[in-house]
């Protein structure tokens, strides 16, 4: 057992020091009927090469993004991650460090988090950001609860353009809550949320680019919300869009939540991902999650610590702003390194490349007979209507080795109006050949 350092002789020595005859004696508090009264029937320990063979066999049964043309988005995006990022995050000092509660020996993690918070604040145009949350969906639920604490109002309105999984997570967090209003899906980008704001509204939640790819008017939403004393929560699932689109902070957003996976983090079948949360300075004491701040040490040297912890569960217990205990540290590190490698110049070019490829994709899809592109605006993602049910069509494309997007019905099974809709994304990894392959395959399938 390669991970266990003791020899049998050492175990015996240690039992002697403890003064017990065998290790079972150390489990004497366990009720007899519960102690090893069973045969687990699990396989025995295994050498590294056999474990690796088993895992490779499982991995081999999946179609990886690099195996063919790939247009799947809808909240998780396939981007290039520089080799430097993955090398650095595997360094022992990053990978195997604990939460930085002992700041004197955690300055690496803490300074990185301070840099990360600065990057997120700049990207979103907000005053402050936290040290990350689990992901964009749970971050949205946390933002909704934060808005309730801030306004002392209860009504929450979710736009019909919000990612359906995000909506479902907010629903689960606010189970049975009559004050939660979820507007029906708006695949055409139609917006009616402004009519649902009243003087009981704590916050409205608007995603841009929305689930269907449309760009939403954040300024108008902010003005309407503020006119009634409500807050605007802006959700962004594709953080690369901020390279080309105006920062929500500059348009009046009160809380910005984003999924940060696109920068530095692989698709990983859905996790681990990275929740970004940024807000106004005056709201920080109601912000959930860890926050890193600058201070000085006993010799006056600049240093960093986790701060404002009087909001958190380990201090406040049942009075905490959230039960959240962890952040998404290593994913935040990957994000921060990738963003540092990009810099403003690289990040802008990355966003332009995404948009350029999406424009090519939209134009190509528009020319496929029977296909209608629903978007007038988009960043790198769009919705098409096809003459056939989308789920079966996507399955047939997959059999041709093309992952052609997400049938909306997979996320909205009860809404029959979306049965023929597909959400597709292009990124910097999308090639002209990929687009041509998809267009001709679609044309053949629909012929």
């Amino acid at each position: 057992m390669r991970y266990l350092p003791h020899s049998e002789a050492e175990r015996a020595d240690m039992l002697g020091v403890i003064g017990v005859p065998n290790v079972d004696a150390l489990f004497s508090a366990v009720p007899a009927q519960a102690l090893k009264s069973f045969d687990l029937g699990l396989p025995a320990h295994s050498p590294e090469f056999l474990v690796e063979a088993h895992m490779r066999a499982l991995a081999g049964q999946n179609h990886a993004g690099s195996d063919g043309p790939f247009f799947v988005g809808a909240g998780a995006y396939r981007h290039h991650v520089p080799a430097t990022v993955d090398h650095l995050i595997q360094r022992s000092e990053w990978l195997t460090a604990y939460t930085p509660y002992q700041p004197e020996i955690s300055q690496g993690t803490l300074q990185m988090l301070f840099e990360f918070q600065t990057q997120v604040a700049k990207l979103t145009g907000m005053d402050v950001a936290n040290a990350s949350l689990y992901d964009g969906s749970t971050g949205t639920a946390e933002a909704v609860l934060m808005a309730r604490r801030l306004t002392k109002r209860n009504k929450i309105v979710l736009s019909g353009g919000l990612h359906p999984h995000y909506r479902d997570v907010v629903r689960a967090y606010l189970k049975d809550d009559a004050d939660l209003e979820c507007l029906s899906a708006s695949p055409e980008g139609q917006g009616d949320i402004l009519d649902h704001i009243d003087d009981q509204t704590a916050a409205i939640v608007v995603q841009t680019p929305d689930f269907y790819g449309h760009l939403r008017n954040i300024k108008a939403a902010a003005d309407a919300a503020h006119a009634k004393g409500a807050l605007l929560i802006v959700v962004i699932t594709e953080v690369v869009s901020l390279g080309l689109l105006e920062a929500p902070g500059a348009l009046g957003a009160d809380i910005v939540v984003a999924e940060g996976q696109s920068i530095g983090n692989a698709l990983n079948f859905g996790g681990p991902y990275l929740g970004l949360l940024a807000t106004r300075k005056e709201f920080i004491r109601q912000m959930p999650g860890r926050i890193c701040g600058e201070t000085v040490d006993a010799e006056g040297q600049r240093g960093f610590v986790l701060t404002l912890s009087t909001r958190e569960q380990h201090i406040r217990r049942e009075k905490a702003t959230s039960n959240i205990c962890t952040n998404s540290g290593l994913c935040a590190l990957a994000f921060s390194i990738h963003m540092a490698l990009l810099g403003e110049a690289g990040f802008t070019r990355l966003a332009r490349l995404n948009h350029a490829n999406a424009c090519k994709l939209a134009d190509a899809l528009e020319s496929v007979p029977g296909v209608e592109v629903l978007n007038k605006t988009f960043f790198n993602e769009m919705t098409i209507r096809t003459p056939q049910p989308a789920a079966a069509l996507i399955e047939r494309l997959a059999r041709r080795g093309i992952l052609g997007g997400v049938p909306v019905s997979r996320l909205e099974p009860k809404d029959h109006s979306v049965g023929n809709l597909i959400v597709l994304a292009a990124t910097e990894l999308t090639t002209d050949e990929d687009i041509a392959a998809l267009s001709s395959a679609l044309a053949e399938e629909l012929a």
Partner: protein
């Protein structure tokens, strides 16, 4: 404007930036924004031509102002920063309740196979059968090790798992017309997340006092139970490192009162493969894959907190989950009858599932049991070696995976528990958990895990003894001034909280703000 040691203009917006670069092995690293600028980039990307943009007039007008670094600069910045961290690969973390064990690199290698890392959560289920098989295998291991009926894999961390487990309990009681149950019992020794989770769901928290031997009294639980109690949240082994000897009676009393038993599984490492929590009567328990099953802590996440569920709670598991269908495995993504819905987008922490299963297969059922026994052996060895010098608040039972001491040996020395812990840093160890559990005054909780060799344990114990003797001998400065050999001396946390500086500001912005 001053120049930094990279020869680039430096912001002066933050206080006390050291002008030296530190010694070779303890670098003072400037902030990314003090090294980089908006022109430099470490990524080569073509400048795309966009002829017919579809941005609808929402183009960015405000500057991004994001500093960039070329690849060699980035490599050096992050390598230098990393050297300011303690890590499990460089030294022991005797952190009670945190299970800082070795993180095998095979796990990392497997998680990066394109068939796991480069698959999308919403690509057709027919194209990810291997991923679903992996989730099924992991579920099988977790259910087998706990003797439970179901597992919800999706929680993103332990606290998220707690939330899910309590949501499932609430859903089950709502379905049974038991919505009036609004009280959750939480022993005093519990982790802070337990009462925070209960309160998050609108429950009122009723505290159960600990007995003088550090365990929970079944009679105290019985006295607190009423028709309004929804559940008890009990950690077992508990946060004092003790196995609750009356846990089966407690479970029975809780069930007899119509309530559920939520077990905080943070300490499962002590009993995996040796005791099955299902045999003790638990209804729900989260398992921290980043503690028990060796996925890396990563400087504070990402974690993963799957929750095992009893037969009574299984119907209330969240979506998604994997099920056998006519064409192989299928992913159930939408609400069934009474289920509580979805607590995260997509399928949860797949990257962690791969690492945890790799670890389980490496250890095997036999190795996991051996690891638990070694973890308990190591904790008892520390308790035996240090019990002469440090007082043991609960001597009646053998400890499980962690040894609890109190700070009474420091009385009159002028040294606090915190000082003592900081002195460990100068000896190359991460401090132990301090002032937790709350039931012990000046608690010092030490969890060595199974990963530490006898040699390391002996050195740790030697250092602890030597420090204790030195504190008693009146050498208070060694402690009150500690750490002295770390990258930073003690940091002013009060100042950080009183006037928060939460991001770097460009010098001009600072000047404007001061006006």
């Amino acid at each position: 404007m001053s120049m930094n040691n990279q020869g680039r203009p430096t912001g002066t917006g933050t206080s006390g930036f050291a002008s030296t670069s530190g010694s070779a092995l303890l670098p003072n690293e400037p902030l990314l924004f003090e090294i980089g600028d908006t022109e430099h980039s470490g990524v080569d990307l073509p400048d795309a031509t966009i002829t017919n943009a579809r941005l609808g007039g929402f183009e960015r007008k405000t500057a991004l102002d994001l500093a960039g670094l070329t690849e060699p600069e980035a490599m050096r910045h992050y390598v230098r920063l990393s050297r300011l961290n303690h890590s499990i690969d460089s030294g022991m973390y005797p952190l009670g309740s945190c299970t800082m064990k070795h993180n095998p690199r095979l796990n990392e290698k497997m998680a990066r196979l394109p068939g796991f890392a480069d698959i999308h959560p919403l690509q057709p289920v027919s194209t990810v059968q291997g991923a679903l098989k992996l989730m099924n295998e992991l579920s099988h291991w977790l259910m087998t090790l706990t003797n439970t009926s179901a597992v919800a894999l999706t929680p993103k961390a332990g606290a998220h798992g707690e939330l899910l487990g309590m949501m499932a309990i609430k859903a089950a009681q709502d379905a049974a017309g038991q919505s009036h149950r609004r009280i959750v019992l939480v022993p005093e020794s519990a982790h802070g997340t337990n009462p925070a989770t209960a309160a998050f769901l609108g429950y009122s928290v009723k505290s159960i006092p600990a007995r003088s031997d550090g365990t929970v009294d079944v009679q105290a639980v019985k006295d607190a139970l009423s028709p309004d109690v929804a559940a008890i949240m009990l950690t077992n082994p508990n946060t004092c490192g003790l196995f609750e000897p009356q846990v089966i009676e407690i479970a029975k009393a809780v069930h007899d009162a119509g309530a559920f038993f939520y077990c905080d599984g943070a300490n499962f490492n002590a009993i995996m493969g040796v005791v099955r929590p299902g045999d003790l009567g638990i209804d729900a328990m989260h398992i921290n894959l980043h503690k028990t099953f060796s996925t890396p802590h990563g400087g504070g996440g990402p974690g993963a907190g799957p929750v095992v569920l009893s037969a009574a709670l299984a119907p209330f598991a969240p979506v998604p989950f994997v099920r056998k269908g006519s064409n192989g495995l299928e992913l159930v993504e939408h609400e069934q009858d009474q289920a509580l819905g979805r607590i995260t987008a997509f399928q949860g922490q797949m990257g962690m599932y791969v690492r945890a299963l790799t670890y389980m297969l490496s250890h095997g059922g036999d190795g996991l049991a051996q690891a638990a026994q070694d973890a308990v052996l190591n904790a008892n060895y520390i308790k035996a070696r240090l019990g002469q010098v440090f007082s043991v608040p609960f001597p009646d039972y053998p400890t499980m995976h962690e040894a609890l001491f109190d700070d009474s040996f420091l009385t009159g020395t002028g040294v606090t528990t915190l000082d003592f812990a900081k002195a460990l840093i100068d000896e190359g160890f991460h401090p132990m958990t301090m002032y937790f559990p709350l039931v012990v005054h000046g608690a010092m909780l030490i969890e060595p895990t199974e990963s530490e060799s006898k040699q390391t344990l002996d050195r740790f114990c030697d250092v602890m003894e030597e420090l204790a003797l030195d504190a008693k001998a009146g050498n208070a400065t060694r402690f009150t001034a500690a750490p002295m050999k770390a990258p930073r001396r003690r940091l002013d946390e009060t100042r950080a909280a009183r006037s928060p500086i939460l991001k770097w500001e460009r010098p001009t912005e600072t000047l404007k703000a001061a006006e």
